[in-house]
Symmetry: C2
Subunit: 219 residues, 2 copies
């Protein structure tokens, strides 16, 4: 069945919305320090409903969520982080190593909600459309969904931190997910202890923003 034709009532986004939307982009942070207060289940449900609106290749919606709640599972993730973070630290020397050691790179011991986000590489939804020549577009659809969740969480005052300093296969195994699920992101969610308009890595002297990615080549 084809539903086509002009939709007559698209929303108009006025200057006030524009301004607030840009504030949202400015104040979205990778959050690593959380207050212990819980997140209402209704809010989490609402955010995960919104995630379903994310774009996906072929409308495949390949994102899969695991809420990591048990002490065992959380300890496994925390241990994997500690180990990988130590290994990363060992790769730096001098002042870089000193700065690295001072960075707080995960809120795993604080975040009330922790979500492991996977890509179901075996999904048949979408019938393979759009991903024959660029197969990674399936995983990239999950990344878009994570970015959407990040912004939607911030709208409600919630902080999100993306932890990538992990051994993905180990996390997937500990969470007992289907073998076709590939770990894309491990997310810490909670109420942030602080609000900032500047990335933590910039504030702590690791890496400031640059204009390198702002240049547009013309061809």
């Amino acid at each position: 069945m084809i539903r086509s034709g002009l939709q007559l009532h698209p929303p108009a986004f006025g200057p006030d919305f524009c301004k607030s939307f840009e504030d949202l982009l400015t104040w979205r942070r990778d959050v690593r320090s959380f207050r212990p207060d819980p997140i209402p289940q209704g809010l989490m449900d609402h955010l995960l409903d919104l995630v379903q609106l994310a774009p996906s290749v072929g409308n495949s919606q390949p994102w899969r969520f695991v809420s990591v709640e048990s002490a065992d599972a959380r300890t496994t993730v925390q241990n994997s982080f500690e180990k990988c973070n130590q290994e990363a630290l060992a790769g730096f020397t001098g002042e870089r190593a000193q700065i690295y050691a001072r960075l707080k790179l995960a809120g795993l011991n604080q975040a009330p909600v922790q979500l492991a986000v996977f890509c179901d590489e075996a999904t048949e939804q979408g019938n393979g459309l759009g991903r024959k020549t660029m197969t990674e577009t399936l995983a990239w659809s999950v990344v878009g969904a994570v970015h959407l969740l990040w912004l939607a969480a911030r709208v409600h005052g919630l902080g999100l931190g993306w932890v990538s300093i992990l051994e993905p296969a180990q996390v997937a195994e500990a969470l007992e997910v289907p073998s076709t699920w590939r770990l894309i992101a491990y997310l810490c969610l909670g109420w942030p202890e602080e609000e900032h308009d500047t990335p933590e890595l910039e504030r702590y002297g690791w890496q400031a923003r640059t204009t390198q990615g702002r240049t547009v080549l013309r061809r």
Copy 2:
């Protein structure tokens, strides 16, 4: 230098913003039909300024943009799409092939602005932080930036279509970019001919949204 401490004036996002933000997510589409009207350069510049606010692993900001303007370059991309799309069609039979053949999967012959978005796999920005165990997080940072651009464009009434039915190496070669740049997305931008709150792939009977990715496993 460490800039830390509590930032005192974070924005508050009220219920009106919340509602409009959800409208934005609802009405963001993958657009394949554009009016010929140009996009003001000032608006494109503004959107690319906003893109710099996207999250990136280690604050690496690895996105690189090429504005594809010449007839030669556009023809190469269009030819790559036509070839890959024919090959994809040949992989389907019966009713699926009929539906696929009816789909308009790119607006390459109409979109006034076309951006090829790359990941600079050789960037030293970020000093490798956060991507030792999950190396794809660099490319994923570019995907987040594309998602941000998608939403920001829609705020201003602009449509964006992500074309992935392309031979990425061929496109990169035609655009004469550094060999360390990896093609992530080829984007068509322009004023959409129609507005919809439902994906085109759903309206044309290819793939409706499902609730499969809404289930949350608990561990």
